[in-house]
Amino acid sequence: MSAQTRPIRHTLMTVILLTCGAVMLITSAAFIAYEYVTFRQLMVRNVKILGEAIAANSTAALAFDNPDDAREVLAAFKAQPHIVAARLYRSAGQLIASYPDGAARGSTVQPLRADGYRFEHGLLSGVQAVVQGGRRMGTLYLESDLGEIYEHFQLFVTIGASIMLVCCVAAYLISRRLQELISRPILALATTAQRVSEHRDYSVRATRPHGHEFGILTDAFNHMLTRIEGDQTKLRSQLSRLDLLHRITRATGERHDLPSVFRVVLHHLGDDLPLDFACMCVYEASP
């Protein structure tokens, strides 16, 4: 069904639903982008706080070269399952302990990297200085997977999709009611126009609906019908006169004496015109 042949109700509902859908999609896209950026920042902040806490607890293990204690400190990462690996290095870069315990992942020598947290290779990795009394005792390196982001987004998308579905249903139900505000006056006008067209009945009038523009349109339509109806009446009257004239002319053409012509004329005038009295005189101009 093309747009031209589609009923106005469907067109209006399609327009409303498409507008709502587009607005929701744009809004959702903006929210997702905002969430993505803020959640990444939040994740960095959380991992950094965790890293700082573990680093603060690692100072003695580094200062007194105690790998057992260092391993024990790193084992606290168990509480955060998204931390997939952590390594504690002495200040010269040699590994003192790693998490998971005994994991051979990573170098036993700390790679030359600046302190800080960054997203790379599908992980959030952090290089955290271990400082005590203003002195650097070593370096904590940790890696967090992005499962937290994926879990968050899964939840976000599920909730978002549910909200969109509910909104679409609500928009459909509301638009089905509200489209009548526009379609009903137009349909009423169309029905009246159709009736005029089919029955040539110019006496019908469209009901004036609420709303400024529809009121003006209906008034103009009704006014046009009134004008057409008036013109139609005038035309009909003139046609009947012409018909009378035609009949008189034809009747007089068949008569040869003046009194007969006069009688015919008076007869027609008496029959076809609302006359109480009529007379015809012959004027003879004096020679």
């Binding site: 603060a56 293990a61 400190v73 200040s91 010269a92 870069g93 040699q94 003192i96």
Partner: protein
């Protein structure tokens, strides 16, 4: 001055780091390496122990690490503390021949040579806020606040909390974590 200080600090920490690595690999290492590590430990105690204000040195006075008895460190301890500060106090190493000489001192390492006089030393120091440390391995070291003991080819800390409390010293929980806590007399 700042540049010199930073350069000195960087140099020192590079050296300390190397010493710590050496400590990790110590095992039956040479005695010199062991004392290099112990010197670093002595220096690090200053980071993890809190002294009462009255026990801290006056402004511009040095924070003193004392060595009582036959000094096993040689030049290592001086090397470790050179250019370093604790709470803006420069660090200094002072050697004492007898406990009577110990005056303004914050950390006192009691050498193994003083083991026979240990009880008398501790009695003299009783009530003073001096962190006593020893590496003498003997049951007689009871009452010394921190003992550096060899265990599984590593140097471990044994801390007598009661002794530190008596001397109004507060040991950071971070230092207590890797240490073995003992009670006086155990």
């Amino acid at each position: 001055m700042g540049l010199l200080r930073n350069t000195a600090a960087r140099h020192l920490w590079r050296r300390l780091a190397l010493l710590l690595i050496a400590g990790g690999l110590l095992g039956a290492a040479a005695p010199v390496s062991e004392y290099q590590l112990k010197a670093v430990f002595l220096f690090n105690f200053a980071q993890f122990v809190e002294w009462p204000p009255a026990a801290l040195p006056l402004e511009n006075a040095p924070f003193v690490i004392g060595v009582l008895g036959k000094d096993p460190f040689g030049a290592e301890l001086d090397e470790v503390v050179r250019g370093e500060t604790v709470n803006r106090h420069p660090l200094a190493v002072v050697r004492y021949h007898s406990v009577a000489e110990v005056r303004d001192c914050q950390i006192l390492f009691i050498a193994a040579s003083e083991l026979p006089q240990l009880e008398g030393i501790l009695t003299t120091l009783k009530g003073r806020s001096i962190l006593t440390v020893t590496d003498a391995e003997s049951p007689a070291v009871r009452g010394v606040m921190i003992a550096l003991v060899r265990q599984d080819n590593r140097i471990r800390l044994r801390i007598d909390l009661q002794a530190t409390k008596t001397s109004n010293l507060t040991i950071s929980s971070k230092l207590l974590r890797p240490a073995e806590i003992v009670a006086s007399g155990s």
